[in-house]
Symmetry: C3
Subunit: 140 residues, 3 copies
């Protein structure tokens, strides 16, 4: 049984949905040790999130951003939490809708993703800065 | 410590929310080996998803489909990703809202679900075809 | 390798988003045994959910409740599942949007949450009663 835990610092990105599969995997040589297991990715923030989605067309990522801006609007009249800017409360809501963690199976030393699946960093703040992920990889 | 990984092929289903608990569990005799553990279910696609919800009333599943069609509409004017049909971009969004994986506790050789909980396959494409799940079961 | 599983009974709370980190952690002395691992929290219900979000400002939790009431409305004309009250079908939808489980890394015997992250119980029924969580903690 193997257990590895490693923090990953993601470079700052603008608001939007960003494909980060390669940036993440490059920093996890420990995956090679695991024949069957799980990789758990956990974002240590409440205004950014992680999801899996289509890894080929950049227009999917742009449409995701448009969709979430439309259905999680800024400046809703009932928002009380407005001190940190109009992008802050929608960022918290989007973070809970999309989720803080991903669990991806490991098979034969690599993430076992479907053909079209990639890891997205969902940056919900206009200027969210560098984001920290904690990767926990375990298996046999 | 036990680790089991098995791919499950789900028969094609029409667009909508489908209760698949029995179909899944029947294909996982390995659950019996595990006294305390976790079963991780991972869908290898980006236009279908997995969720847990009410296992009794089919009207819950119909209402879920209506709700998601209403709040994740087809043909939004800002969609750029339209080449694969009007059901495609909404399918990607629904997949991220609902998620690609489930983690269910294992107790005494069986999934430890609440009384009313069942596993739903959420098929977001009109004709999504057969769907593949990867089940990873681990525990002691 | 350690495996611990424990059911937690959460006191009844009114509809809304509630910070429960302290109430949960106090009931899990087993966390101390684990240097590196995962804590899995699983709610055994289909009309309440779990999420991670901002642990400081109560207005975030009030805004979350307002948001979800607005975008998952009661009394939609297409709802068929209405026998258990107007808050029931929206509760099922919210439960799937937010999710039934959380996975939080364990480091050095404690949950490894970001500075601003706390565990929310999302109670979607007007009178949901006591809620049961199953905590599964594992690691080395």
């Amino acid at each position: 049984m193997h257990w590895h835990q490693r923090e990953i610092l993601l470079e700052p990105r603008p608001r939007g949905f960003h494909l980060i599969t390669r940036e993440v995997v490059q920093q996890l040589p420990e995956l090679n040790d695991i024949a069957v297991g799980i990789a758990h990715f956990f974002i240590l923030h409440t205004s950014a999130s992680l999801t899996l989605n289509e890894n080929a067309s950049p227009d999917v990522r742009r449409d995701m951003e448009q969709y979430f801006n439309t259905f999680v609007p800024e400046n809703e009249p009932y928002y009380e939490h407005t001190m940190e800017g109009s992008d802050d409360m929608p960022a918290h809501i989007k973070a809970s809708l999309l989720g803080s963690s991903l669990q991806i199976p490991i098979s034969s030393g690599a993430l076992r993703l479907g053909t079209w699946q990639g890891i997205y960093l969902c940056e919900h703040r206009n200027r969210g800065g560098a984001r920290r992920l904690l990767a926990t990889m375990y298996g046999s």
